[in-house]
């Protein structure tokens, strides 16, 4: 048991050191990521100007800016660049064999890699994030309540896990398809527009709103941001968190099942 914990600790430390090599590039890259939001904010400012300051789907202009900044935080938790394509590439090149031989579990190994990535990312990215949030402090309605803050942090952790297991499951489809880029394209397309980082999902008219509510995508960006803004409260909040946890469980199980059957289907390409 202890030696097992030591193995995982070592994997985490190596991954963490790997990630901290390019910290300067990291910090600059993080600041650059806020640039596209600038145009979005001007766009919404113009929309609100045309509406003569009326609220839009329950959001004021300030709420919109705060919402965008908070979805950046959520996306920083839930985005998993290169995870699916990496898994599919390992399957294709035969590299995945090492997980079949060594007593290390692929899903656990990659999860620790991502945890290390996010930890490293946040140690470096906290400064640029704090700077932007400080400069934009006027747009926030104030600190979220203790409940909203706690629920927000919980939903962020869940959205990290959801992003991880969802994309890992997509990558594991590679056991059958070998090339998953077309599947990833469809996923990216929908998650780009329907996860809520382009606009608050409350803006959608019916029946689209209900349809989007039924997908797990909203938990990748919209839900944590809306919780931290205090837009979701009371029983809705409890229900949302439960559904989010349910989706995490669903995709964790799905990834396990895909791995289980995939390795039986696998025919070891490559050397």
């Amino acid at each position: 048991m202890l030696s097992r914990a030591q193995t995982w600790w070592m994997i985490l430390r190596i991954a963490l050191q790997e990630r901290l090599v390019y910290r300067g590039d990291f910090a600059l890259g993080t600041l650059m990521r806020f640039l596209p939001i600038v145009t979005q904010i001007f766009l919404w400012m113009a929309v609100f100007a045309a509406r003569q300051g009326d609220q839009l789907a329950g959001y004021s202009y300030r709420d919109f800016v705060a919402y965008y900044l908070l979805t950046m935080v959520a996306r920083a938790f839930s985005s998993m660049p290169g995870l699916s394509s990496g898994i599919a590439a390992q399957i294709r090149s035969g590299e995945v064999k090492k997980f079949l031989i060594q007593p290390v579990d692929l899903l656990g190994f990659l999860l620790l890699g991502r945890v290390a990535h996010k930890l490293a990312y946040y140690t470096v990215a906290t400064l640029p994030f704090a700077l932007v949030f400080f400069l934009c402090r006027g747009f926030f309605p104030g600190w979220p309540s203790a409940t909203a803050l706690a629920a927000g942090v919980l939903s962020l952790v869940l959205c990290f896990l959801l992003g991880y297991f969802l994309e890992a499951a997509l990558g594991l489809v590679g056991f059958w398809w070998l090339e998953v880029s077309s599947l990833l394209f469809v996923y990216m397309l929908f998650s780009f527009f329907l996860s809520g980082h382009m606009f608050p999902l409350d803006m959608l008219p019916q029946p689209w709103h209900t349809l989007v509510e039924l997908t797990p995508l909203q938990y990748l960006a919209y839900f944590p941001a809306a919780v931290l803004l205090g837009k979701i409260e009371g029983w809705d909040l409890v229900r949302g968190l439960c559904i989010e946890a349910g989706w995490v469980l669903f995709f964790a199980l799905l990834a396990r099942v895909l791995w289980h059957y995939g390795t039986r289907h696998y025919s070891a390409y490559g050397g």
Partner: protein
Amino acid sequence: MSPRPDYFRVFLTFAGNSLVREMMFHVNFLIECVSSVTWTMMNLGFYLLIFHHTDSIGYQTGWGKWEFFAFLATTMLVNSIVQAFFMPNCEDISELIRTGGLDFALLKPIDTQFLISLEKIDWSSLANFAAGLVLLIASLIQMTTRAENPLTLHPLSLVLYVFYVLCGVAILYSLMIALSATSIWLGQNRSLYDFWFYITNFSRYPMEIYEGRLGTPLRWFCTYIVPVLIVVNVPAQIIARPISPDGSTSVWPLAGFTVIATAASLIASRWVFQASLRSYRSASS
């Protein structure tokens, strides 16, 4: 051997070769066409959602739904031309320098900038050009046939529109080639590409939205220093002409400036490109 190569025929050969290459994998070609058009459709859905909640972009700017869709169509036309003809080549420049492949381009008896800017053509990007054209025609029909305040389209507007779309393409091309030429000095230019993406991001919306303490200097900067704002705005204003009710805005001073800016961008980028070639030290020898 003729002293001066026939540039047009060389270009046609490039175009033909690229088409042959893409047609070898015609299913892949079709998928790429469909996927780029799908992105555009989703984007269109996003703006439909915005116009579900508002009548215009900005207070009394004149950018109503169909005016803005004509603007969006113009963005699609300009971007698809740049992506089809110049993007695949400029992406390769840093690779040419890293591997020393630029040596072969320099040895050929033809202008180097011409050769490495147009060698490959990504035909599938032109699917978005077709989509842009459909959207433009649809918006123009809507605007000319509406009961209230219909648009009268002068044939000259169409000619000027084509001219200013080409000006926009030339400005974006200049920016792109100048940025990728700097990879001769820097060795790698990945972040420069991000920079290019972010800066053209500003060109995608009507310039009227950049207002206020931060917006006005930004608009000024993106119009006169790095002229990305006029790329789409000028042709779109010429064709859709969203004149504010007080009639004060006129596109002509800006249109005049665009001609000068286009010429200046082309000359400046040519200069940057040639200056960077002079500092090229072949990697292979």
